[in-house]
Amino acid sequence: MAGFLIKRILQAAFVIVAVTLVVAFAVRLTGDPALMLSQGAGSITEEDLARIREALGVNKPFLVQYTDFFLGIFTLDFGRSFLGGTPVIDLIGNALPATLMLAFASMFVSIAVSIPLGIKAAVSRGKWADQFIRIISLIGLSFPNFWLAIMLVLLFSITLQWLPPSGMDGFASFLMPAITMGIILTATNVRLVRTSMLETMQSQYIMVARAKGLSESTVLYKHALRNCAIPLITYFGLQFGGLLGGIVVVERVFNWPGLGTLAFDAVGARDYPVLQAVITVLSMLIVGVNLLVDIAYGLIDPRIRTE
């Protein structure tokens, strides 16, 4: 297990270096920030632009800029925003909790709903409960999330006026964004849990557990669930990455003050420091979650732990 973890941590470090390099490079392809900053400032000479570039530090060679940025990560110094000069770390510090809360709330909703439903569908395979759950999950899968978000706003905020349409202000404001993100995840996960459970229930050791005289619920929740969780955990980890990617759209619709909104604004302003910091933080989150998945894997599956 120790060897396995060290290997994974080394891999994670490599991934982060690669991601930051690609991000820093790609961000600089979006255009000249000096031009963007000087928009509407009347007549601008080439010298003015050069001075702005020097002030922002974007006139230095790429590798120098990258090294500054990369070394900054270790001291949590991501530089200052090109807009207004706020330290980037403060911007991230404000946005990160909002995004994390939303992401974990959606993951939690999806897992809490999909596991019991998936198991129910698996044990009543072919019966009406199974058919019903599968049809509902298919409908859930068919919604694009931006459309669903708008429909929810229309119904609950504008027509019924039950929930706030945007912003982050208390528990009520969580519901719609979390449901929007959660529904699509749940729809996929129900099918996944169902398939994994069906496969596990075919195993010989399930027959053996029944032959011991154990009750169906012990067979299901003790013997089957833990085995069925092994492939699911990997998938949930991967899903978390996809979730963070999809969060940009949902944050925009609900005007959620998270990393997605921050990144969206930074792209428009060619605010390199903010953009590369947001993407770096997101990729570290994804790598971190997958590392946790690997550890969880070892805890659940002794075949990995004792290797």
Binding site: G3, Y205, M207, V208, R210, A211, K212, G213, L214, P302
Partner: protein, 608 residues
């Protein structure tokens, strides 16, 4: 042992899955201290019978249109079929326990051995976890597992198949059941391990006085363990009786054909060559005799050998360190040398990890050799170009154990048989190829109409015939048959053995016959090589190796084979211990054995 009243009586039991009836009006009774064997081929309903006693069959969709299963428990007579599942759970695992066929998958991979044994005790005996683990330790010692205390904390994947099956037995016996159902408990195990497991079951039965229902397709095992036998065929009981009577004087035609098809190790003592025997086949309800006795003198020892293998070594790297360095290797094959002549069958026998399949795969170029030389028809592998290697793939054909897995389920069998003809450009013209396919199908005992069907429409035996037809399609000189008969029922097996031998005579084919079944090897091979941990322990003619086994491992292997003769006395005091693993640390190389020729062509490895 004194006669007891039956403890379990199955009366007029019928079982249906949907509309198809798989058991019909079955009646059987078993007594304490006795072993009743249920024998039959695949699909005869023997496993469904046992699962019905456990009331587990209905979880797979079974219904019981008629019958009773009367169990004489501590609380008087109970009809198990009338019990609600909730009450049945109190009997299942406590009074009636079961051992399953696949020890590798019967234990839950995420729980320790200790937890899994303790579970029954906590459930049925109301023990505390601590007491249950203590009792678990005693049970593991009872099934003679070494280091039982440590095993409690181990996980299933850390145990070999034989050890897992012992854990299963310990688990099943935890609550001292009155009836033990053993469903093919040794089928997936090597013979020496099988012998150990059978001994353990028999000893514990004597100690606990339980009734054992032993389900098997292996008549050798039946002869060894059973007091009474019930023969099932197509969901019905066709015959039952005490084991000696049934073997000596079978009455039903099906029992007769079954017993006549069983290969008996030692039955060919004194014969110089392999031999074909007539086989009785059930044709509807009456047996029909197919084939005739014929001596198989086909090997051409005066010519150059077709295949020469010299000092073959095949190793696989496994287990790598953090930076990708290899720490462990499987020493699958170590310095193996042998020849195969045209028209000859050389059997490679051995148990798991002996390297027999790796040798076959290396010759077929499915696996790269680490070192050594292989020469086929005078051409060394090492000097072959791409074109020569391709030709080799035509001249050497492989037949696998699982005929279903080796046929593409989405392609008609005619296509699969024609494929090698296309690949190797052996023939032109759709019409000619079609004729060739029809002719091949007829040769292996099928009809040309079968070419338009898909693999799932055939039985296991028919599928293996299709695989043989496909192998023949490329006019091979050598066929490697890797456990090609192991998955087949005995009557089918006997027919396929004859087919192999007929084809050998017609086409002068050489066979490398890889098998763990000594009785089949005795019937069809000219020479035998016994493998142990990747090296040849003994090599010689069939008669030399089987009638004068001179290496201790050969002797051990032969003594472990169950023989379908209940009058034979079994003495297996020499069997003990596990087969060592061929996985070794890098740097810890195995010792290479040297040989002594004790008779012309009879090589025996010296002790290391």
């Amino acid at each position: 042992m004194t006669e007891h009243a039956p403890i379990l009586r199955i009366e007029d039991l019928s079982v249906e899955f949907g509309a198809s009836r798989v058991i019909e009006n079955l009646t059987l009774s078993v007594s304490p201290g006795k072993t009743t064997a249920i024998v039959g081929e695949s699909g005869s309903g023997k496993s469904v019978t046992s699962l019905s006693v456990m009331r587990l069959a209905e979880m797979m969709g079974a219904t019981y249109p008629s019958g009773k299963i009367i169990f004489e428990g501590s609380e008087g007579k109970t009809d198990l079929l009338a019990l609600p599942q909730k009450k049945m759970r109190a009997i299942r695992g406590k009074d009636i326990a079961m051992i399953f066929q696949e020890p590798m998958t019967s234990l839950n991979p995420v729980f320790t051995i200790g937890d899994q044994i303790a579970e029954s005790l906590i459930l049925h005996e109301g023990m505390s976890k601590k007491d249950a683990l203590k009792e678990g330790l005693r049970l593991l010692e009872m099934v003679r597992l070494p280091d039982a205390a440590q095993l409690l904390n181990r996980y299933p994947h850390q145990l070999s198949g034989g050890m897992r099956q012992r854990v299963m037995i310990a688990m099943a016996l935890a609550c001292r059941p009155k009836v033990l159902i053993a469903d093919e408990p040794t089928t997936a195990l090597d013979v020496t391990i099988q012998a150990q497991i059978l001994t353990i079951i028999r000893d514990l039965q004597a100690e606990l006085g339980m009734a054992v229902i032993f389900i098997t397709h292996d008549m050798g095992v039946v002869a060894e363990v059973a007091d009474d036998v019930m023969v099932m065929w197509k969901g019905k009981k066709v015959e039952e009786g005490p084991v000696k009577d049934l073997f000596a004087n079978p009455k039903h035609p099906y029992t007769k054909t079954l017993l006549s098809a069983v290969p008996r190790l030692g039955a060919m003592a004194g014969e110089k060559f392999p031999k074909r025997f007539p086989v009785a086949v059930m044709d509807g309800d009456t047996p029909r005799i197919v084939g005739s006795e014929h001596i198989q003198n086909t090997a051409k020892y005066d010519a150059q050998p077709l295949l020469q293998v010299r000092d073959l070594v095949t190793r696989f790297d496994i287990k790598k360190g953090i930076f990708g360095g290899v720490t462990h290797r499987v020493h699958a094959v170590e310095n193996v040398s042998f020849d195969i002549y045209r028209g000859e069958t050389l059997a490679l026998v051995g148990e798991s990890g002996s390297g027999k399949s790796t040798i076959g795969r290396t010759i077929q170029q499915l696996q790269k050799a680490t070192s050594g030389n292989i020469t086929f028809d005078g051409r060394p592998f090492a000097s072959m170009g791409k074109a020569d290697q391709q030709r080799l793939r035509q001249e050497i054909q492989y037949i696998f154990q699982d005929p279903f897995a080796s046929l593409d389920p989405r392609k008609k069998v005619g296509f699969s048989i024609a494929e090698p003809i296309h690949t190797h450009h052996l023939m032109d013209g759709t019409k000619q190829i079609k004729m060739r396919v029809d002719q091949l199908l007829e040769r292996v005992g099928l009809t040309s109409a079968h070419a338009d069907r898909y693999p799932h429409e055939f039985s296991g035996g028919q599928r293996q015939r299709i695989c043989i037809a496909r192998a023949l399609a490329s006019n091979p000189k050598l066929i490697i048959a890797d456990e090609a008969l192991s998955a087949l029922d005995v009557s089918i097996q006997a027919q396929i053995i004859n087919l192999f031998m007929e084809l050998q005579e017609e086409h002068g084919l050489a066979y490398l016959f890889i098998s763990h079944d000594m009785a089949v090897v005795e019937k069809m091979s000219h020479r035998v090589a016994v493998l142990y941990l990747g090296q040849v322990a003994e090599l010689g003619s069939r008669q030399q190796v089987l009638e004068n086994p001179s290496h201790p491992y050969t002797q051990r292997l032969l003594s472990a084979v169950p023989v379908a003769d209940p009058t034979r006395n079994v003495n297996r005091t020499m069997l003990d211990g596990e087969i060592p693993s061929p996985v070794r640390r890098v740097g810890d190389e195995p010792a290479i054995v040297s040989y002594q020729e004790i008779a012309p062509g009879h090589l025996v490895a010296n002790a290391v």
